[in-house]
Subunit: 218 residues, 2 copies
């Protein structure tokens, strides 16, 4: 009797093995051979699912993106945007080991895609999805009449999205400085800075576990 | 008579060849052999200067960092911080092809360093230098009594630095959306948002070449 193989399960094993190889050894080591070994399956079986390394990387990146979307979908929202927006962004930022791995895979994929045109479409798709979170955030704040008057939406979407990805890359580089508490404090501070003063007084004070840095000379 | 070789010139050629190889083919192709070929020198001569690939990458990254520092040093400042801070950050952001190449090399180096411990010290050093720009910015704004009262310096330094690196990675990924004009507008807007209202009225309105994005449903 032929072995019954759960193809989706196999592909998931491969995706997870790819993430681990990228994190441990860098994306340049994410060869079909190395990933087959990490996943504990034969190179032949791998080729059944993915005929090129780019296909394999794209699939693994899509699975990262799906995992983030699923977590956002599963987040229970309170209806208070001042709580819900930080909760939403907490699911994207590298606030634990799993999310840190996702973020390392994402940045590795971005850098790889700069010299591999076959990855460009997916890079743009994931970037569009992440950016659309901020369009949704601004629509919510606008509908709730929470925003300061006169904001330029296009510029504010880019600015908030830049805060997210900048924090993410800094947290990946310097987890001892850009801790989950610092990330949450920066996000809350940014959100409050966009809103009317009466929201400031209603909202809790932003977390500030980080030590105050006093101005220094020069 | 032996050939007289200008070693500094040779090393500069190697650094520039490394940047080009990284940009064209990705950091995984930045092997001693490929870079020697791109630089038009022998593998033997390369080994005279750099005995490992990590040394070669570190040297090339240091040269990127020196180039950025030199440009900052050469910038002519007006004394008006509302003009000078955007000018300063303009020299770091990928606002032209040369700076875009530097930024691509920096992000490639960051990602590579996550799985190559020998590159960690230099990664931290460059990160510290970039972050220190924002400590200087806040010190200047504070001494000029331009800042809003009650700001948490530690959080604000992380936030402004995140805006810079987030914009930089988005501009590298999506130059058609995150144009130099958008980057400058975001930086000016962020700077003004930190300052007292009388600075707002004195300062020019931020550039806003980007089209307004109206709130959409969902």
């Amino acid at each position: 009797m032929p072995k019954i193989v759960d193809h989706e399960l196999q592909k998931t094993k491969v995706a997870e093995a790819t993430w681990r190889v990228i994190q441990k050894h860098g994306i340049e080591q994410a060869s079909v051979r190395n990933i087959a070994e990490e996943a504990g399956i034969s190179v032949g079986s791998m080729r059944h699912y993915f005929s090129t390394q780019s296909e394999l990387l794209s699939y693994s990146m899509k699975r990262v993106s799906e995992r983030v979307s699923q977590r956002i979908y599963d987040t229970v929202f309170s209806g208070d945007l001042m709580q819900d927006i930080p909760s939403l962004l907490h699911e994207v930022l590298p606030t634990d080991n799993e999310k840190r791995l996702e973020m390392e895979v994402w940045f590795s994929f971005v850098v790889k895609s700069l010299s591999d045109d076959s990855l460009r479409t997916l890079r743009h798709q994931v970037d569009d999805e992440l950016r659309s979170i901020f369009v949704t955030v601004f629509n919510g704040l606008s509908e709730g009449q929470l925003l300061l008057p006169g904001l330029d939406f296009a510029i504010e979407v880019e600015r908030f999205y830049a805060v997210l990805d900048g924090l993410a890359i800094h947290a990946v580089m310097r987890p001892e400085r850009v801790t989950p508490e610092v990330m949450v404090a920066v996000i809350k501070r940014h959100l409050l800075s966009l809103c009317q003063p009466d929201v400031h007084s209603m909202a809790q004070k932003p977390d500030s576990n980080a030590k105050k840095e006093q101005p220094r000379d020069t």
